[in-house]
């Protein structure tokens, strides 16, 4: 039975005390990190993208485990509201451990992009932060302020024909909103690397021939079920099943993302930052 995202999003969060984050008005950003540039990684999500949101959360954990600054930016959207309400309160998060969270009161793509930009300002002692940013699908529309956020979006796709068509539709909308976008795709729902490669090639071929644009590959993720179990356990795959295929695949995708996005490790000297 299909489940709504709001049914399970609260499972994806670390167990970090009982205090809940307050709700927000306007576009104020909650628990803003302190320093450094933010490298937003927009991830379009639909209301039923339960597993994919879990992927994003786990990828954020993997980025942090790779000793990089990582931040999950979550906008204000009804479909994501349970996630917002369930995130640990700022005071309950130990500084420097694991990924950070930031909540945005944005109601559209442009406001979310401005919040992402503001998060990167005035962070003098820390290096750039790779920030997976959940973007509700319906927000993807031409917006001068939002185009930058969609510069290098990450999509997930499976071999399923209808899913490939949906992904292509999302790609079309992304290019419409951000003509210079360089989208990347991670394949999941496969059992072999060859199947993932074929799936990527099918999608890339559509993108190149139909849209005239190349597609970046960000590997594949395996064993969705294991990811789901970890979600239900309220733990990351890396902590619950560190030697699993799913964990290795997540780490590999995180490595590819880090290679393509400027993300110096914490403590890297940024002599010229304010």
């Amino acid at each position: 039975m299909a489940r709504e995202l709001s049914d399970v999003l609260h499972y994806m969060l670390p167990d970090a005390g009982t205090e809940r984050a307050p709700s927000h008005e306007g576009t104020a950003v909650h628990r803003a990190p302190e320093t450094g540039a933010l490298c937003p990684l927009a991830v379009p999500v639909g209301e039923r993208d339960v597993v994919r949101v879990a992927f994003v959360w786990n990828l954020t954990v993997e980025i942090a485990r790779a000793a990089r600054n990582a931040l999950l930016l979550v906008p204000d959207d009804p479909a994501l509201e349970p996630l917002r309400e369930s995130l640990p309160a700022p005071a309950s998060l130990e500084e420097g451990v694991g990924p950070e969270f930031a909540f945005s009161g944005a109601q559209d793509l442009g406001a979310l992009a401005r919040d992402a930009r503001d998060l990167g300002h005035g962070r003098p002692e820390r290096g750039p932060t790779l920030a997976p940013t959940l973007v509700p699908l319906r927000w993807i529309r031409p917006d001068p302020d939002g185009a930058q956020l969609l510069r290098r979006p990450l999509l997930f796709a499976t071999p399923d024909a209808s899913d490939l068509q949906s992904t292509q539709t999302v790609l079309e909308r992304i290019f419409e909103a951000a003509p210079d976008a360089e989208p990347g795709v991670t394949i999941h729902g496969v059992t072999t690397i060859e199947e993932a490669e074929r799936t990527f090639e099918r999608l890339a071929l559509r993108c190149e021939t139909g849209l005239g644009r190349p597609l970046r590959s960000y590997g594949l993720l395996l064993d969705d079920l294991q990811v789901y179990r970890a979600v239900v356990d309220r733990r990351s795959v890396a902590s619950s099943q560190p030697h699993s295929l799913a964990a290795r695949a997540l780490a590999d995708v995180a490595r590819l993302l880090l290679a393509d996005h400027a993300s110096p490790p914490p403590g890297a000297k940024t002599a010229a930052t304010p």
Binding site: R117, E197, G212, L220, D252, T270, T273
Partner: protein
């Protein structure tokens, strides 16, 4: 490096050079300011990205004695990776001292710098080389740089080039940023996983796609 020195000692290790990199670059004939250290670049790391007073990015690498040519090539690849990202960095942090539109230079630091390395670097516009030396002074051991070629921020100006604008490196001029709309077919599947991880036969990954 100036100042009285009493003698030379074995060359400094890579770690010592990294520790002293900021001071070494500040002492370069045209001082360089480190923007970021040890970042992940294209299939490898970049020891540092610095810039000169004009904001020209400089990709800095520290060469191992037996891998100078290889690491010169590595620096070239990292420059190609870095060039389109300068604008992104500036959008993310406008206060960085970098200036967009200035082709990054290269600076390779090494303890040997064999003739072949020097010759190869001479063929790459905007490339500086410097030997790293450990010197024994009255104050103790210090690390110094001896410029071999460069500095990277002041390459020869091509005839007719405006004096106020640094020239494009020859290789950068030869390969302008492609228009993605005009260059389909570049999508390549990537993964670091192997078939063995999934119980199947291993075969190379990241090979170009055949259609």
């Amino acid at each position: 490096m100036t100042g009285a020195h009493h003698g030379r000692v074995p060359p400094p290790s890579r770690e010592i050079v990294l520790e002293n990199l900021e001071a070494l670059l500040e002492a370069w004939p045209e001082p360089l300011q480190i923007v970021v250290r040890e970042i992940q670049g294209l299939e490898g790391s970049i020891d540092a990205v610095a810039c000169d007073a004009a904001g020209t990015p400089v990709v800095v690498g520290i060469a191992d004695p037996d891998r100078e040519l290889e690491q010169l090539s590595h620096l070239l690849a990292q420059r190609a990776w870095l060039t389109p990202r300068i604008r992104d960095w500036l959008q993310l942090n406008p206060q960085l001292p970098l200036r967009d539109g200035r082709p990054p230079r290269l600076l390779l630091l090494g303890v040997e710098l064999a003739p072949a390395t020097v010759a190869a670097a001479g063929e790459i516009a905007g490339t500086g080389l410097a030997r790293v030396r450990m010197l024994e002074t009255a104050a103790g051991l210090v690390v110094g740089l001896d410029p071999v070629s460069g500095p990277p921020s002041s390459p020869p100006e091509p005839a007719g080039a405006p004096a106020s604008e640094p020239p494009e490196p020859a290789d950068a001029v030869a390969s302008p940023a492609p228009d993605p709309r005009a260059a389909p077919g570049r999508s390549t599947f990537r993964t670091g996983l192997h078939a063995l991880d999934l119980g199947g036969p291993r075969r190379p990954r990241s090979a170009p796609r055949g259609r």
